[in-house]
């Protein structure tokens, strides 16, 4: 006797691309309803911009950088914020989302479907990429409307560099979020990691600005991964390869290693 007439169509094979797209749509809808996500991805860059506008020296974002003729302060800030948002989307959003999904048993339930593990992880990366793209686009449109177009910029290079930063941060987020960790643990660990990266990258301020003000802090930014990535994004935005490219290459390699580790340690079950 043929098994079950419960549903209108017997369960069949599900295409991988269809699965990823289904997951992306469901997760985007869910994340946009989660207050921390719009706050981290959309409100954060504007909040930083607002704060910087209130600080002496940033009241006139259209003045040119001393060391870089033709580059305005705001032109340095846009890629800086894009990089920071990529870090927030990868480390903060994905880690918190994974721990929440695991704590409710949703990960376990998803894994009982025909979905492949890689499809779920790919969907996370695509969701993070979409959030970064939307946030960067919004931030750029607003700043361009207010301050005008930069003298020179390379959107394609910017997109490529942002892809690198997003990949690195998503890899870190998947590894951190994939660890067997309680929801409270993730709520502490993810913001802490992001805060350390953000603070050590120069607090959203172009890090060259700290060289004269607080040399020790500038030294911190020279070893901060996010600062290196932000430099990379900024130089790509200007159509150049950053001097910090070896550090970025190292981070990319580390991200690949993190992917391999994620595959081994990712906790789907939430067992204790």
């Amino acid at each position: 006797m043929a098994a079950t007439a419960l549903t209108e169509r017997p369960a069949g094979d599900v295409r991988v691309t269809g699965t990823v797209w289904t997951l992306v749509r469901a997760q985007l809808a869910l994340l946009l309803r989660t207050p921390v996500v719009p706050a981290a991805v959309f409100a954060l860059p504007f909040a930083v911009l607002l704060v910087l506008m209130l600080v002496v020296g940033f009241r006139f974002p259209t003045i040119e950088f001393g060391a870089m003729p033709g580059v305005r302060v705001i032109d340095r800030l846009v890629p800086e914020m894009a990089g920071t948002v990529a870090a927030a989307a990868g480390i903060l959003v994905i880690t918190l989302h994974l721990s929440e999904t695991r704590a409710t048993g949703m990960l376990r339930r998803l894994r009982r479907t025909r979905m492949r593990d890689a499809s779920y992880l790919t969907a996370q990366a695509i969701v993070a990429g979409a959030l970064v793209a939307a946030s960067t686009l919004l931030f750029m449109v607003v700043t361009f409307v207010i301050y005008g177009l930069p003298r020179s910029w390379h959107p394609l290079y910017l997109a490529g560099a942002l892809l690198v930063v997003t990949y690195c941060s998503v890899s870190a987020g998947l590894l951190l979020g994939g660890l067997r960790m309680s929801r409270i643990g993730a709520r502490v660990a993810a913001p802490l990691c992001f805060a350390l990266l953000f603070l050590g990258s120069g607090l959203g301020v172009p890090r060259e600005g700290w060289e004269g003000v607080a040399p020790w802090f500038y030294q911190v930014t020279t070893v901060n991964p996010l600062a290196q990535l932000n430099d990379f994004v900024f130089h790509a935005y200007q159509g150049r390869l950053a001097e910090t490219w070896p550090a970025v290459a190292g981070l990319l390699a580390t991200a690949v290693v993190a992917n391999v580790m994620t595959r081994r340690v990712f906790d789907w079950e939430g067992t204790s």
């Binding site: 098994a3 007439a5 419960l6 949703m106 376990r108 339930r109 025909r114 979905m115 079950e269």
Partner: protein, 295 residues
């Protein structure tokens, strides 16, 4: 014919010892025992969240271990599983039906579980009973051959409980197999084609509810307060419990017992009823070797 679920000599310390049973097509098997008797541990092993010390589990022809993916023909609604609070029920239904490659729950199951009014709501805003119905709906959305349910109606009102039981019947009618872990013996009696009684992590007895009740060898049962002296009653079997003493026997024998007890109990009226699975469980738990009852 291969069983949909085959559990063989499953042990996990503490709480589960050499438990074996099967679930066949078109059958509802209730694994039942009061809390703390191994049901939760068994479900952990079946779901893959707990690692058994010994024994093995075969689901839909595939041997599964802890952490292994369960076969896609399995649907499960386990205790402690939920959806993210901000996810809408309709979104979850759509997501899971697409991941399973089905067109979602058919209308009759949506009606049976009364899910229609819940579809636009966020999961976090549902009551406990509504959540349970949604989770069972999600367990069935993938057109499963085997369904695992972990005490699906515990603590729910009569309405939700009945709806869930009807949904289980629907799976059976669709020639699927259902394994329900329960601690409510009355519900197990209503639901089950076959019952596996658990006591202290061991299988106490297994069979249809009717067969297990027949093991009592009595047509009627009566509960009296534990302080009454019942040792002189004739033709009745006595089982002393903490809250009551149970008398088993034929209706005339119990009516005679009422007469004998009346000097001690005054005008109190005792009710004689037919034995239930709970009575069978109490009796089987009380005898040192339950197999002796069958002999």
């Amino acid at each position: 014919m291969t069983s949909l679920l085959s559990v063989t000599d499953l042990s996990r310390s503490p709480g589960l010892e050499e438990v074996s049973f099967t679930v066949e097509r078109g059958e509802v098997v209730c694994v039942v025992g009061p809390p703390g008797n191994g049901g939760a541990t068994l479900m952990e092993c079946l779901a893959g969240t707990g690692e058994p010390d010994a024994g093995h589990i075969e689901m839909l022809g595939v041997t599964v271990g802890p952490g292994d993916r369960r076969p896609p023909g399995l649907g499960a609604a386990l205790r402690g599983e939920a959806l993210p609070a901000r996810m809408k029920v309709a979104e979850a239904m759509r997501l899971f039906s697409r991941l399973y490659g089905t067109r979602g729950l058919p209308g009759r199951l949506v009606d049976l579980l009364d899910l229609e009014p819940l579809l636009p709501k966020r999961f976090g805003r549902l009551t406990d009973g509504q959540r349970r119905r949604v989770m069972i709906g999600l367990a069935l959305v993938g057109n499963p051959e085997l369904v695992l349910l972990d005490d699906p109606a515990a603590g729910l009102g009569e309405g939700s409980r009945r709806r869930i039981e009807q949904a289980v019947d629907e799976v059976r009618a669709a020639y699927g197999g259902v394994c329900v872990v329960l601690d409510d013996l009355a519900q197990a009696e209503r639901l089950a084609d076959r019952v596996v009684l658990l006591r202290a992590g061991r299988v106490l007895a297994e069979g249809t509810p009717t067969r297990l009740i027949k093991l009592l060898g009595s047509t009627c049962v009566m509960g009296v307060p534990p302080h009454l002296r019942v040792d002189r009653l004739r033709d009745v079997r006595v089982l002393r419990g903490a809250a009551a003493t149970y008398l088993y026997g034929s209706r005339p024998a119990l009516e005679a017992a009422i007469q004998d007890l009346s000097p001690m109990s005054g005008d109190r009226v005792w009710s004689i009823r037919t034995p239930t699975l709970r009575d069978a469980y109490l009796t089987l738990s009380a005898v040192p070797e339950p197999a002796a009852l069958e002999a």
